[in-house]
C-alpha cells in the first residue's frame, strides 16, 4: 500500500474509513487469508480434505435421521439435494459468523501493537469461510447434476444472490459480535447459540409449507423475515428446483408452484433490506468500539 496524498498532509493516525477502505489492502488481505488457512490446518494429515469430510458426514447423518427415519424423503422429492443445499448455506453462515466474531481477539498481538484498518480481520475471516464453502458447493453441484439439474439464468442468479445475501448478513452480525467480544468474551457463546438455532429456524430439513401450516400468520411473517431463510430458499431455487425426479419431471412441476413460498420476490427484497441494515449497523457498532480495542485486549 503506497502513500496517498492525504497521508502526506497532517492527519489523525488510526482513523480509517472502514469497510470501504479494505479493497486498497488486498495484498495484505490475501496474506492474512493464507495465514489463517495455514494455521487452521497445521499438523493435520488430511488438511483441506476435512472441509469435504465434515459436510459429507453431516449430510449422511441428517439424511438418515430426517429423510429416512422421519420420512421427509417421501414428502419432498429429491430430498437429499433439498437438504444439502440448505445445509451448505447454513454452514457458510455459521462459519462466517464464528470466524469474524473471534477475529479481533484472535489477532490481539497485531491489533494491540500496529495500526491497520481493523475491518481487515473480519473481512479476512469472511474469505476464509468462503474458501471452505467452495468444496461444499462443488459436492452440491455434483449431487444436483446427478439428479438432472438444468438451471436457467434465474436459477444461477438465485445462487449468486443467496451468496451475496449470506455474506452481508453474516459479516454485519460478525462485525458487531467481534467488537463486543473484545469487551465481553460472552459474545462467542451467544454466537454459538445463534449457530445452533439457525439450522432449525430456516427451511433446511422441512419445507416452508409445513411451517405455514403449523404457525399463526404473524409468526409466519416473522419466520420469513429471517434473511437466512430467504438465502436458503434462494439456494433451493438455484440447486434443487431445477432438478428432475426419476421420471424426468422437473421438481417445479411436481410441487406445482410450491418450490418457493408465496410472495417470494417480496421476501427476497425484505431479506436484502434487513441484511443491508445489519451490515451498516455492524460497521457502526464496530467503529464506536474500534478506538478502544488496543487497550481492552
Amino acid at each position: 500500500m503506497n502513500r496517498t496524498p492525504a497521508m502526506m498532509r497532517l492527519h489523525h493516525p488510526g482513523h480509517s474509513r472502514g469497510l470501504i477502505e479494505i479493497p486498497r489492502w488486498y495484498f495484505l488481505l490475501s496474506l492474512l487469508v493464507r495465514k489463517e488457512l495455514r494455521v487452521r490446518y497445521r499438523g493435520s494429515v488430511l488438511g483441506m480434505l476435512w472441509t469435504y469430510v465434515k459436510p459429507a458426514i453431516q449430510l449422511l447423518v441428517y439424511y438418515l435421521a430426517m429423510g429416512r427415519f422421519l420420512r421427509l424423503n417421501a414428502q419432498i422429492p429429491n430430498y437429499i439435494v433439498y437438504l444439502f443445499s440448505g445445509i451448505v448455506m447454513v454452514n457458510v453462515f455459521n462459519e462466517i459468523l464464528r470466524n469474524t466474531t473471534s477475529s479481533i481477539v484472535g489477532n490481539a498481538p497485531l491489533v494491540g501493537k500496529i495500526y491497520l484498518p481493523r475491518e481487515l480481520f473480519p473481512v479476512a475471516s469472511l474469505w476464509v469461510a468462503f474458501i471452505h464453502f467452495i468444496p461444499q458447493v462443488v459436492v452440491l453441484l455434483i449431487a444436483a447434476v446427478l439428479f438432472g439439474w438444468r438451471p436457467g439464468p434465474m436459477n444461477i442468479l438465485a445462487v449468486l444472490g443467496g451468496i451475496l445475501l449470506v455474506a452481508m448478513l453474516a459479516l454485519g452480525l460478525g462485525l458487531m459480535f467481534s467488537a463486543w467480544n473484545v469487551l465481553f468474551r460472552d459474545a462467542e457463546n451467544i454466537v454459538d447459540l445463534i449457530s445452533m438455532v439457525a439450522i432449525w429456524f430456516s427451511p433446511v430439513f422441512y419445507a416452508w409449507s409445513m411451517v405455514q401450516a403449523a404457525v399463526p400468520g404473524w409468526l409466519w411473517t416473522v419466520y420469513q423475515c429471517n434473511p437466512l431463510s430467504v438465502a436458503v430458499e434462494l439456494f433451493h431455487y438455484g440447486f434443487w428446483a431445477p432438478t428432475r425426479d426419476g421420471g424426468g419431471t422437473p421438481i417445479t412441476v411436481i410441487t406445482a408452484n410450491a418450490a418457493n413460498p408465496p410472495g417470494f420476490g417480496m421476501w427476497i427484497c425484505v431479506g436484502f433490506a434487513i441484511s443491508v441494515v445489519l451490515l451498516v449497523l455492524g460497521q457502526l457498532v464496530f467503529r464506536t468500539h474500534e478506538s478502544r480495542f488496543a487497550e481492552e485486549l
Partner: protein, 252 residues
C-alpha cells in the same frame, strides 16, 4: 522512497497537543458479573482508572531524531501508540504526516507456523510495504538478517535471536516517513546490535524522522539528538539528548 515533495517543510511531522490518555482497568470480562455488580450498586468497583499521559504536547519536525526517556510506567510506550494510531487520546489531538511504522514490539505480526519467507511477506505488508517493494527488497532483508539457510523453515523452529533478527530486518527495510523504535536495541548479539545501530544511523543521515524509546542510555545517545523525558505521564524536559540523559542519571 515514494515520498512526495512536502509543500510545507516547516510544519511538524508529528504534532501532539495537550494529550491526555486514561486507562480503565476493568476487573471482569463477563456480562454476568457486570450485571450482578451493577444491580448491587458496586459498579464503580468494577474498574479503576489510571492517567497514563497528562497534558502532553510535543512537536517533532522532519528529520529529527528524538529519544523518549523515562522510568517504567512513565507513558513512553503509550505516547508511541498514540502516534502510531493504535490508541486514541482521551483529550487533545495527535496528528502526523506520512506513513508511520516501526519497531513497536518487533515481530508482533510474525506467526510461528509460517516460514521465514512467508513471515517476511506478511510483516512487510503489515508495515505498509507493497508486494513489488517486498519482492525488490527481499534479498536485502534476508541478507541483513543473516539467516539465509533457514528462510524456508517455519519460524517456530527459530531461536529467539534468529527470530528477532528477521523481524528487525523486515522493519528496518520498511522505510516509513516516521520510524518508531520501541526498546529493540537489545536485538541479538553484540555484532548484530552494532549492525542495527549502524543501519539506524544511516537512516538518520538520510533524513529519516526517528522516535526512539529505550532504557539503554548509552545507545540512545548514539542515535538521537533530541531528548524528551516523561515522568508519570508528564513532559518534564524537552532538550538535547545529553540534558535528558543527565536528568535520568539523577533519577528522573
Amino acid at each position: 522512497m515514494t515520498n512526495t515533495v512536502d509543500p510545507t517543510p516547516d510544519e511538524p511531522v508529528i504534532r501532539v497537543q495537550s494529550v491526555d490518555k486514561i486507562f480503565t482497568l476493568r476487573h471482569t470480562r463477563s456480562i454476568k458479573e457486570y450485571v450482578v455488580w451493577t444491580v448491587k450498586g458496586r459498579k464503580g468497583e468494577l474498574s479503576q482508572t489510571f492517567k497514563a499521559l497528562n497534558n502532553v504536547s510535543i512537536s517533532i519536525g522532519s528529520g529529527e531524531s528524538v529519544g523518549l526517556l523515562g522510568l517504567n510506567g512513565s507513558g513512553k510506550s503509550t505516547l508511541l501508540k498514540l502516534i502510531s494510531g493504535v490508541m486514541q487520546p482521551d483529550a487533545g489531538d495527535v496528528q502526523i504526516k506520512g506513513l508511520v511504522a516501526g519497531l513497536i514490539e518487533v515481530g508482533a505480526g510474525f506467526h510461528p507456523d509460517l516460514t521465514g519467507r512467508e513471515n517476511v511477506y506478511l510483516n512487510g505488508a503489515i508495515l505498509g510495504m507493497s508486494e513489488e517493494e517486498i519482492e525488490r527488497k527481499f534479498d536485502d532483508i534476508v541478507a541483513f538478517s543473516e539467516i539465509e539457510k533457514f528462510i524456508d523453515t517455519e519460524v517456530k523452529f527459530y531461536s529467539s535471536g534468529m527470530f528477532l533478527r528477521l523481524a528487525f530486518s523486515v522493519a528496518i527495510h520498511s522505510q516509513p516517513d516516521i520510524f518508531l523504535v520501541d526498546e529493540i536495541l537489545a536485538v541479538g548479539d553484540e555484532p548484530f546490535q552494532r549492525k542495527c545501530l549502524d543501519r539506524i544511523r544511516e537512516l538518520k543521515a538520510a533524513g529519516q524522522t526517528l522516535v526512539v524509546v529505550s532504557h539503554d542510555l548509552r545507545r540512545i545517545q548514539e542515535i538521537c539528538d533530541r531528548g524528551i523525558v516523561l515522568r508519570q505521564g508528564e513532559v518534564v524536559l524537552d532538550g538535547t539528548i545529553a540534558e535528558a540523559v543527565d536528568l535520568l542519571h539523577q533519577g528522573a
